[in-house]
C-alpha cells in the first residue's frame, strides 16, 4: 500500500481540499495520504469530507499552527 505526502502549507481555499481530492482519486483503496496545511478551516473541512466520502481520517493533529491529517482511502 502506497503512502503519499502533500505539502499544502500556504494554500488557501480551495487549495488544500482540492489537492487531497485529486490525490485520493488516483490512490488505491488502503493507500495513505498525509497532508500538511496552514489553513485552520481545514480541520473542520477534513472531518466532514472524510465522513461524507467514506474515507478514513486516521489522524488529525495541529502543531505550531500546522495541521497534519492522515487519510486512508476507503
Amino acid at each position: 500500500m502506497a503512502e503519499y505526502r502533500i505539502n499544502a502549507r500556504g494554500l488557501q481555499c480551495p487549495g488544500p481540499i482540492m489537492q487531497l481530492f485529486t490525490q485520493m482519486k488516483s490512490a488505491e483503496p488502503g493507500d495513505l495520504v498525509m497532508i500538511e496545511v496552514t489553513d485552520v478551516g481545514f480541520k473542520k473541512d477534513i472531518e466532514a469530507w472524510c465522513r461524507k466520502t467514506k474515507n478514513t481520517l486516521v489522524s488529525l493533529i495541529e502543531n505550531d499552527g500546522v495541521i497534519t491529517a492522515q487519510v486512508r482511502k476507503g
Binding site: R9, G10, L11, Q12, C13, P14, I17, M18, L20, F21, T38, D39, V40, G41, D45, A48, W49, K52, T53, D64, G65, V66
Partner: protein, 548 residues
Amino acid sequence: MRLIILGGVAAGTKAAARARREYPDAEVMILTQDDYVAYAGCGLPYYVGGIISEAQELIVRTPDEFKHENGIDVRTRCQATAIDPSAREVRARDLDTGIEQTYGYDKLILATGALPVLPAIDGIHLKRVATVRGLTDAKKIRVLVDSGKLRHAVVVGGGFIGLEMAENLAHRGLQVSVVEMRDAILPGFDPEIAALAKKALEEHGVGIYTGETVQRVLGNASGEATGVVTTERTLDADLVILSAGIKPNTAIAAAAGVETDARGMILVDEYLRTNLPDIFAVGDCASVRHQMTDLDVYSPMGSTANKTGRLVVANLIEPRETFAGVLGTTIVRLFDVSAARTGLSEEEARAAGHDVETVLVPTPDRAHYYPGNKPIITKLIADRATHRILGAQVFGEGVVDKPIDTLAMGIALGMTAEQLSGMDLAYTPPFASALNSSIVAANVLLNKLDGKLRGVSPCALELDNPNQQLLDVRTEPEYLIAAIPNSINIPLPELRERIDELDPEKSTVVVCKVGRRAYGAALLLRRLGFRDVKILDGGMTAWPYETV
C-alpha cells in the same frame, strides 16, 4: 477642600487616588456599601472560572492600603442614604452598627455604579440564584462551583457578563444554558456577528435559547434552585445566574434633585458635572456622550469608568478637561472566538439616519501561509454619501483586538473608506497580511460603494424564494463538505459552459467560501445579462446557519 466620593470600585477609587495627588491638602473620603473597594469587577467571571485563582488577585488596593499609603479615608459597609445639596451633606448608615452619620462636603463625586436588573419572577430569592455584580457575589458562586456538586447552570441574559459566565462555568464542567429574551445574544452587535457567536457557543456545548423569557425559578424543599421555566421549555439548574442587564444605581442622587433620565442614568455635561453645583458623576451611574451621534448614552464599561473617574478630578475647582465620550467600543472572548465592535452598529447607523452600506469580509488574521494564522471576519458599516466609516465589528478565532482598536481610532477621527484602504499599517507575515484585514474590508466596501458589487447579508438571505437562485461556485469537494440548502453547485471555472443551468431572469445570489470567487462569478453573470446578481456577504465562512 473636603471631597466625598460615593462608590469605591473603578471610577470612585480612580478619582480618589488622583484627587490625592492633585490636591495634597484636600480631605478625601470614599463611602461605599460594599465590603471591598478598588477591585477588578470585569474579572469576576474569570475568578469563578478559576483562571483567577484567588479573589485577592482582583483587588487592586485594600481599604487599609488606601488609608495608610494614600491618606484616603475609606468607609466600607457604609451606605449613603441621602444627599442634601443645599447643606452640602451626605447622610450614610454603617451597615454593621446601623448608626447614621452626616458628612459635610465641598465637592461630591457620585460613582455609585449600577445594580443588576432582577426579573420580576417567582424563585429569584432561592439559594443558588446569584447575580454577578460584586466580589461578594462572585465569591458566593465560586464556593458553590468549587463544591463540585453542581451539574447544570442556567444563565439568564446573553450580554457580555452572562456569556463570560457561561464560558467560565462550562470550563468548570457544568452543562450551561443561556436564556435571552431578545432575538439575539451579544447586545450592540449586528445579527450576523451575534449569530456566529451563538453558533460558536453551541459548538462548545452551551445551549443558547433566544427569544425566550424566564418565567420562574424552580426550587426544592431545601429552598435551593433546581430549574428554570422559560416560555418554551424547562431547564435543569443547580445554579441560576441572573445577568439580564444592569441599571444605574442613582436613587439617592435622584431624590436629591440630581437630574437623571428615564432609565435612571445621571445626566452629566462634558466636564462630568451634574445639574447641581459641586456634584459630579462618573462611571456606571452616569451618562456619556456618544461620539458618533452626540447623544447621551448609557455605556457602563470598565474602560469608561476608569477614564471618567480620573478625568473628573481636573474639573473639581473649575472646568478644565472635557471627556471626549464613547464610540461604543467593546470586546468579548467566548471560548476560542472573540467578538469586538466600535462605532455604530448597522441598526444604530440606520436609526441615526444614515444611508448605509456594509461589508462582511473573512480574512486570515496574518499571512495566510504563516503557521498559526486564524480566521477573522470584519464587518464595516459606512455612509453611502460620504464614505465615512461609521462602525466596525470583528469576529473570529484570530486576533480581533488589534483591528478593532485601529478601526476605533480611525472612526473617531472621521476616516473614510478611501482613507482606510490607504492606511499604512504594520506588516510582516507573523503579524499581518500584506493587505491588512481591515484594508481588504475597505477595498470590498469601495467596490460596493462604486456599484461594482452588491451583497446580501446571511441574515437577510431568503432560502425559499422561488424567484431567486442560489449559486455556489466553489469546487465539488468544498460543496460536498457543507452547503446552503437549495443551492446549485457550478464551480467557477465551469460557469461559462454551464450557464444554461441558470435563469438570467431570476435574481441570483452567488456564494463561495469567502466572497472572492463569488465576486468574479457575479461580474461574469452581469456581463452575460443576468438581471439581478448579488453575492452572499461573508460567504460560507460567515454563514451561521444550517448546512447540508
